[in-house]
């Protein structure tokens, strides 16, 4: 793969052997007063100072890259809030606010334009066609590009078809991109995709991502098992790890993820040992967690690739015995027609 050196993220990846991404968007916005059920993207216009504070929280904690507040900024999702006609505007502003914060950082900080799933099932299983998905992602990508995003950051995807549609949209917009899937069902995505499957998919794309990986999912331990799965394929593309800070609990009227900053520090170092290059958090990861992660990444030495047991002993156990890559998982029922 010839890397496009005109891109800020490619340049940063050339000079550094690990980068720290940001933490949560949604759960951090809750802490700033967002109500459940409301569209976070509307805050780009209604509360731009809070969105800048969200971004600055990550940058001040040492993140080299942060995601824009545009996860649900596609027409399909914004339609819920009657804002499907504002895709371009809401994404542009999400990126513009990011640009302001990144450019004031005094060091290279990447503005990654977050692109979440459409929420629909793609054809032939569902009704969303490839063409329509590409069109929706493309519309969003143009807004993020216009606002100054350095790369597109496609995340929390579960279907290969949707991942490919996003890749095509990035190509149409002429943008470099990164793409992660959410492996939340017995170590696979909801659609049954394994870590090894995703590594294979990106090798065949004609506009491959600068980096690929996993975000969200179940807990930090599961996410690192997925990273080990990527690394085991020998893929040369940098790997992204963006795991949740533990699992969600409900306390005093708000959601709290139970992973401590110290646990996320351990997670970050283990993620690097597992083979990840871009390391961040997802739901529940606050600036305080990020500071602990940054300190751990800067002060602790690299180690050998950890075993699953080592990961479990430091971060807790896995949600399933197999993640579908070890050949040890339970097998499908045999049927006469299929043989």
């Amino acid at each position: 793969m010839v890397r496009d050196m005109t891109n800020a993220l490619s340049r940063l990846l050339e000079t550094r052997d690990w980068l720290m991404a940001d933490g949560a968007t949604g759960t951090n916005l809750f802490n700033m007063g967002l109500s459940s059920g409301d569209a976070p993207e509307m805050w780009n216009v209604e509360h731009p100072e809070k969105i800048k504070a969200l971004y600055a929280g990550a940058v001040d904690a040492g993140s080299d890259l942060f995601l824009t507040n545009s996860f649900g900024g596609n027409a399909s999702r914004l339609k819920l809030h009657g804002a499907e006609g504002r895709v371009r505007e809401l994404n542009r502003i999400a990126a513009e606010l990011g640009r302001e914060v990144a450019d004031a950082a005094g060091r290279p900080v990447i503005v990654a334009g977050s692109v979440g799933p459409t929420g629909e099932i793609m054809a032939p299983m569902g009704s969303l066609t490839h063409e329509l998905a590409v069109e929706m992602f493309h519309e969003q990508a143009e807004g993020l590009k216009e606002g100054g995003a350095d790369v597109l950051w496609v995340e929390t995807i579960s279907a290969v078809e949707e991942y490919k549609a996003a890749a095509e949209a990035a190509k149409l917009a002429g943008m470099a991109w990164c793409g992660t899937m959410s492996f939340d069902t017995a170590g696979r995505t909801m659609m049954g995709i394994t870590s090894a499957d995703l590594a294979k998919v990106i090798d065949k794309l004609d506009h491959p991502p600068l980096a690929f990986g996993a975000n969200c999912g179940v807990g930090a331990a599961d996410l690192l098992r997925t990273v080990l799965g990527f690394a085991a394929t020998g893929s040369q593309t940098p790997i992204i790890a963006k795991g949740n800070a533990g699992i969600p609990k409900y306390h005093d009227g708000h959601i709290h993820y139970d992973g401590t900053p110290s646990l996320m520090g351990d997670y970050a170092v283990l993620a690097r040992d597992c083979g990840a290059t871009i390391i961040g958090g997802c739901c529940g990861t606050t600036p305080e967690h990020l500071r602990a992660m940054k300190e751990a990444l800067e002060t602790r030495p690299r180690g050998d690739r950890p075993t699953l047991d080592e990961i479990a002993s430091k971060l807790g156990g896995f949600s399933s015995a197999s993640d579908g890559t070890d050949g040890d998982g339970p097998e499908r029922r045999k049927s006469r027609r299929r043989g």
Binding site: I255, C283, G339
Partner: protein, 232 residues
């Protein structure tokens, strides 16, 4: 695949045919399921027996393997689609013959959330298990749930959320039910990828269901308990 054409459903005895229908549901073969349903009806099976022994039986296998991480959403959607084909034949007959109803559920994805894949699976599996399901779709505000509870008078309220930004909304709905003094009139089940058991308890739901198969088992258990209480 090689012996695909060798299986002639009408030549199988009842037991073999039901077993084959389990396979065909598992493989998501809609036409074969429709054919199997017709054959059993022709052989004098009641619509209710076809539903429970062939379709629900087959979907139980699918649900178990979904729960165990063997089948994933695409396979379950195909299976559910095949089951729907069979259900379309049985539904009018079931209505005529007055087959027993297990219970009734109102279900919907909460406000701000568009995700309905899991919810749809729950709907289909619940229907497959003999429940009557009223599906409110996506993006439901609390008023919408309350209105449906009043008009539909279900046994169960099911809520779904896939986002960390929307899952707390379930608590809003439950709190409103408590305020209005109607919380205990219903069994409240919640589900969705970011949730867990403890979260379900903390927000005041009766149970968290990690997937559609668990939802069916949980619903059955709660409805049975409710009926026992009423008869006691």
């Amino acid at each position: 695949m090689s012996d695909q054409d060798d299986i002639i459903l009408s030549e199988l005895n009842d037991e073999e045919l039901v077993e084959q229908m389990f396979d065909d549901l598992y493989d998501g073969l809609k036409e074969e399921i429709e054919e199997g349903v017709e054959i059993l009806l022709e052989r004098g099976w009641t619509p209710y027996r076809v539903l429970t022994e062939a379709l629900v039986g087959g979907m139980t296998v699918v649900g178990r393997d979904f729960r165990d991480g063997i089948l994933f959403v695409p396979e379950v959607l195909l299976a559910a689609n095949a089951m729907k084909g069979g259900m379309a034949i049985l539904k009018p007959l079931l209505a005529e013959t007055g087959a027993p109803r297990v219970g009734k559920m109102v279900i919907g994805t909460v406000k701000g959330d568009i995700h309905d894949i899991g919810k749809n699976l729950v709907s289909m599996m619940m229907e497959g298990a003999g429940f009557e399901v009223v599906d409110l779709g996506i993006n439901n505000a609390v008023e919408k749930y309350l209105e449906a509870l009043e008009t539909e008078k279900p046994d169960i309220l099911g809520m779904s959320a896939l986002l960390t930004t929307t899952m707390p909304y379930m608590k809003t709905v439950i709190d409103t039910m408590v305020e209005q003094g109607i919380r205990d009139d219903y069994i409240v089940l919640v589900g969705g990828a970011p949730l867990n058991e403890e979260f379900g308890r903390a927000i005041g739901a009766d149970a968290y269901c990690r997937d559609a198969a668990v939802a069916v088992d949980t619903a059955k258990a709660f409805v049975a308990r409710k009926h026992n209480q009423m008869n006691a």
